[in-house]
């Protein structure tokens, strides 16, 4: 097996850190690492950065269709997405991680995303939608002020218009928006435009004011090592 030098290692290091190398190239990289502390440190540091990206993904998988719904809601006008549906799972990952970015770019008032992402902090929150201890769907929220919320709800109630409110711990309420609920199901996403740094409840009410379901979000917190 031919050797590679530090320059070649550094060219391939990002792919190596992302586990994107296979076969001979990977073997050459591993061989080089055994005798080169400088490249060992580089590989270790890049792998740490790659791990940080994973922390942006929520702890539960959204439902099928989430990714296309979110992209449709937040994509920039005029931009065409030609990604095949067979790779929807990858699109989902991208939507989850970049959802805040897409909102920020489509909203002139929030063109510069807040630089407050902190290592070890989960930036997309998940909570089940519950009514009388019944699981009715899922809610996802990016708690930054340029963040977004996504709702997937299935409930045995007549067609209606649902209002989504966020209730802060001290009792204040922020109206996020309304969406149609038809045939027992709805998928909906919207920009929240409010920063949430503590536990909060998303409340879904029908047009008569009856609560359909609630999701209790945990506070953003550090992920245990």
């Amino acid at each position: 097996m031919s050797e590679i030098d530090c320059q070649r290692f550094q060219q391939l290091a990002p792919e190596f850190a992302l586990n994107g190398l296979v076969g001979r190239e990977r073997a050459q990289m591993l061989s080089h690492l055994t005798g080169c502390p400088t490249c060992q440190k580089m590989a270790h540091d890049l792998a740490e950065t790659a791990d940080r990206i994973l922390e942006l993904v929520p702890e539960a998988d959204p439902p099928a269709g989430f990714e296309l719904e979110l992209m449709t809601t937040f994509r920039r006008p005029g931009r065409e997405y030609r990604w095949p549906a067979s790779l929807a799972a990858a699109l989902l990952a991208i939507a989850l991680v970049l959802g805040g970015w897409i909102v920020g770019r489509s909203n002139p008032a929030a063109s510069a995303p807040a630089d407050d992402a902190r290592p070890g902090v989960r930036t997309v929150l998940y909570a089940p939608l519950i009514k009388d201890e019944l699981w009715l769907g899922q809610a996802y929220m990016d708690p930054d002020e340029s963040g977004w919320m996504y709702i997937s709800l299935t409930a045995p109630v007549p067609d209606t218009t649902i209002t989504c409110d966020i209730i802060r711990p001290e009792g204040s309420t922020v109206r996020i928006g309304t969406f149609p609920f038809t045939h027992g199901h709805a998928e909906w996403g919207a920009a929240t435009l409010t920063k949430l740094d503590a536990a909060a409840v998303a409340r879904l009410s029908d047009s008569q004011g009856n609560v359909i379901a609630s999701a209790r979000f945990p506070p953003p917190e550090a992920i245990p090592d």
């Binding site: 792919e15 950065t49 994973l54 990858a90 995303p113 992402a117």
Partner: protein, 63 residues
């Protein structure tokens, strides 16, 4: 990290997320995006290095 991702060119951010979150190789990213393999490699390379630089800068500012 999300702020750093937001500053990347969109095509680099997509490539890095596909590789880091979904475990796609450069060849798979290339097929997914309909771009040459070399372009996919370049996007992954540039994207991850920029994120790494941003993380080091953030760490430097906060230590």
């Amino acid at each position: 990290m999300r702020a750093a991702l937001a500053r990347l060119p969109a095509e680099q951010a997509r490539a890095v997320v596909m590789a880091a979150v979904y475990g796609m190789t450069a060849r798979q990213v290339a097929g997914f995006e309909g771009i040459p393999l070399g372009t996919a490699k370049a996007r992954i390379h540039a994207g991850l290095l920029k994120l790494h630089a941003a993380r080091l800068a953030w760490r430097g500012d906060n230590e």
